[in-house]
């Protein structure tokens, strides 16, 4: 337990200055959304698809008032409730898709890097093709294909996000596996008679998984945007299935011309804040966990004062 806590605290205790500030701010912002997501039924005054309460119909695109702090939209829904419920949808989708990316991408990457051969080559080709392709267009195509199977549900959108982000996990893990498998400890394990599976599980996995948390947080930020984009185009989650900020903005768009700002402003701000929060967490983690990127801080290098050579070296 103590080890876990110290591991979790490591990003905080080992950072200074801007990195720590970013991490704290990011965690705070993200925490607000996580709380909204978990306690949505208690925090939100109404349901996400509720258009009347106590027998009273909500006004259509009603301005912010005491009963509806963020106003109501053109479907008679309460905006603040949809913003709060939207946090739940966003986090559900992001967690599902990142989880799927890790569960599929990491083993594929390890196996591909470990075994090599034609299996590796084909996977690299396919993943590269997916990676080169504009990610949002890819998400559009995949959700276009999945609509027939799953409809506009959380699962369908999560799966399309998985397809978009999986090449990144695969690439990172495969490349680290390629270099890690040449290490002497792998050779030692092999010499002791460890099977392939055991080597991958016990020796490669732990070394390769290091880069996943940073990638996961940064992807989560991007995934929020992709999810909202799909929702905006009407390819994501349907309004009655769950509250989704992107789709709400789509419905709010005609309001901009008629002087109604509250239907679009709040869902939009929710997206902006959550993306910023997750980005800050990701960048903050990056500075601490990723030793190769730590150098990017561009601090001036101070060379140690040159020591006088020892007599032994002078002789040689």
């Amino acid at each position: 337990m103590r080890r876990l806590l110290s591991a979790l605290g490591k990003p905080f205790t080992q950072t200074t200055g801007l990195a720590r500030w970013m991490l704290v701010a990011g965690v705070a912002i993200t925490a607000v959304f996580v709380i909204c997501a978990i306690f949505a039924p208690w925090l939100a005054p109404y349901g996400f698809a509720q258009s009347s309460a106590h027998g009273v119909e909500f006004p259509k695109t009603g301005p912010p008032s005491s009963t509806h702090p963020f106003g109501t939209d053109r479907l008679f829904f309460d905006v603040i409730s949809r913003v709060i419920w939207g946090a739940r949808t966003a986090l559900e989708v992001v967690i599902l898709s990142i989880f799927a990316c890790v569960v599929l991408g990491v083993p594929l990457g390890i196996a591909s890097g470990f075994y090599g051969g034609w299996f590796d080559r084909i996977l690299v080709l396919v993943m590269d093709a997916l990676y080169v392709f504009p990610s949002f267009l890819l998400a559009i195509v995949v959700s276009f294909l999945l609509v027939d199977v799953y409809g506009g549900s959380v699962i369908a959108v999560s799966l399309s996000l998985t397809v978009v982000y999986i090449p990144q996990y695969y690439r990172v893990v495969r490349n680290t596996t390629l270099s890690a498998k040449e290490a002497t400890y792998i050779e030692a394990a092999r010499a002791m008679g460890a099977r392939d599976f055991r080597i991958m599980r016990k020796y490669l996995f732990g070394n390769v998984i290091q880069s996943v948390p940073v990638l996961g947080t940064l992807n989560a930020a991007d995934a929020i945007l992709t999810l909202a984009g799909l929702g905006f185009l009407g390819l994501g989650i349907q309004s009655t299935e769950a509250a989704e900020w992107g789709h709400d903005l789509n419905r709010a768009l005609p309001d901009a011309g008629s002087g109604v700002w509250w239907t679009g402003l709040y869902p939009g701000l929710a997206i902006v804040f959550l993306v910023i929060g997750l980005t800050l967490v990701g960048e903050g983690l990056n500075e601490t966990l990723n030793p190769t990127l730590r150098r990017r801080r561009l601090l001036p290098v101070v060379m140690p004062p040159r020591e006088r050579a020892t007599p032994a070296e002078e002789q040689s």
Binding site: A129, P134, I140, V149, L233
Partner: protein, 342 residues
């Protein structure tokens, strides 16, 4: 990375072109099979309810859906080589015509957005890099983060409410109906056509329609430029040649301009190529936000009509465009920076 190459430009270009061919092939293969493994029958998905069973069967026959998958795959590849991207199912048009009619609007939007992104992003990036850790630097970096975090359609919404309303700018389409009626379509790029017609009102009208979508999309990418130029500027200002210039007693301003700025801009060209994919994705959303009659909006339209033929054709075109642009950027980069060729 090729060690065998002599470092000459033609060799480099030839190598890059040769590498692009398998890349395109893989992408096309993925596009084809991904769209084919999908459950359901594309023809009835697009036309079911509009035609009877017999007519549907005829269409299936005509489009070659009854043939073995590999034969269809072969047909697809060979027609793409002949620059034939197939036909749409729902309104039975050659995809190439859809691309010709709507591609111009997308091209105008993306180029304008790019110009705005460069004009806004590069000076801000240079400024932030030059005055590192100052108040402007913090402000500019925050602005950069905001442009990344704000979705295009949200910026579009704000633009429509806070800018278009007070200024009376149009928020929908690429020109008013009168302009479209008056201007002869020659190049299928409305802005150029308007210029060619010599009708100043038409040009003004087109530009008025262009400004908001272009700014919205431009803001999306300018964050990337700010970040990149800033980091490059920081790195350049720490190099030996800048230090040498300072040591020679050159004025601070001259050093920044002649030694710092110029060299900080070189990597921007590489990133322009990488941003094209982001630009295309953003264009799809911008077009939907401002009802811009481009290819992205057309793609969404066909997706809502479940038109596999059109989706496949447009996606194929996008894929080839992305790869071609990255090839072009690599070549330009090699022209400018001899180090790339080795």
């Amino acid at each position: 990375m090729s060690r065998g190459g002599s470092g000459s430009l033609p060799t480099y270009i030839a190598q890059r072109v040769l590498l692009v061919i398998p890349m395109i092939w893989v992408i096309l293969t993925v596009v084809f099979f991904v769209l084919r493994v999908a459950p359901g029958d594309p023809v009835s998905a697009a036309l079911g309810g509009k035609l009877n069973a017999q007519a549907l069967e005829q269409r299936r026959e005509a489009l070659g859906f009854n043939r073995p998958l590999l034969a269809q795959y072969w047909d697809y590849l060979s027609s793409v080589i002949h620059l034939d991207f197939g036909t749409t199912f729902s309104d039975n048009q050659p995809v190439l015509r859809v691309i010709r009619d709507n591609g111009g609007a997308t091209l105008t939007l993306t180029v304008a957005a790019f110009v705005i992104a460069l004009v806004v992003g590069i000076p801000l990036g240079l400024l932030a890099g030059r005055y590192r850790d100052s108040v402007p630097d913090a402000g500019i970096r925050l602005f950069g983060i905001l442009t990344y975090a704000a979705p295009v359609f949200f910026v579009g919404f704000l633009m429509q409410y806070y800018v278009a309303e007070p200024l009376g700018l149009p928020t929908s389409g690429d020109a008013s109906p009168i302009t479209v009626f008056q201007v002869q379509p020659k190049t299928h790029i409305l802005l150029i056509d308007a210029f060619l017609s010599g009708n100043t009102e038409a040009v003004q009208d087109v530009l008025k329609h262009l400004i908001l979508p272009a700014v919205t999309l431009g803001l999306l990418i300018c964050g990337v430029f700010i970040r990149l130029v800033r980091v490059n500027m920081l790195q350049t200002m720490q190099t030996d040649y800048v230090e040498a210039a300072e040591a020679r007693g050159l004025k601070r301003r001259n050093v920044t301009w002649r030694h710092g700025f110029r060299n900080a801009l070189v990597p921007v060209i590489t990133v322009i190529g990488l941003q094209f994919a982001l630009l295309l994705s953003g264009a799809v959303l911008t077009e939907s936000t401002f009802n811009w009659p481009g290819l992205g909006q057309k793609l969404v339209f066909y997706i809502n009509n479940r038109d596999y033929g059109a989706v496949q054709g447009i996606i194929t075109f996008f894929a080839i465009a992305v790869v071609a642009i990255s090839l072009l950027v690599d070549i330009v980069n090699a022209l400018i920076d001899p180090r790339v060729r080795y």
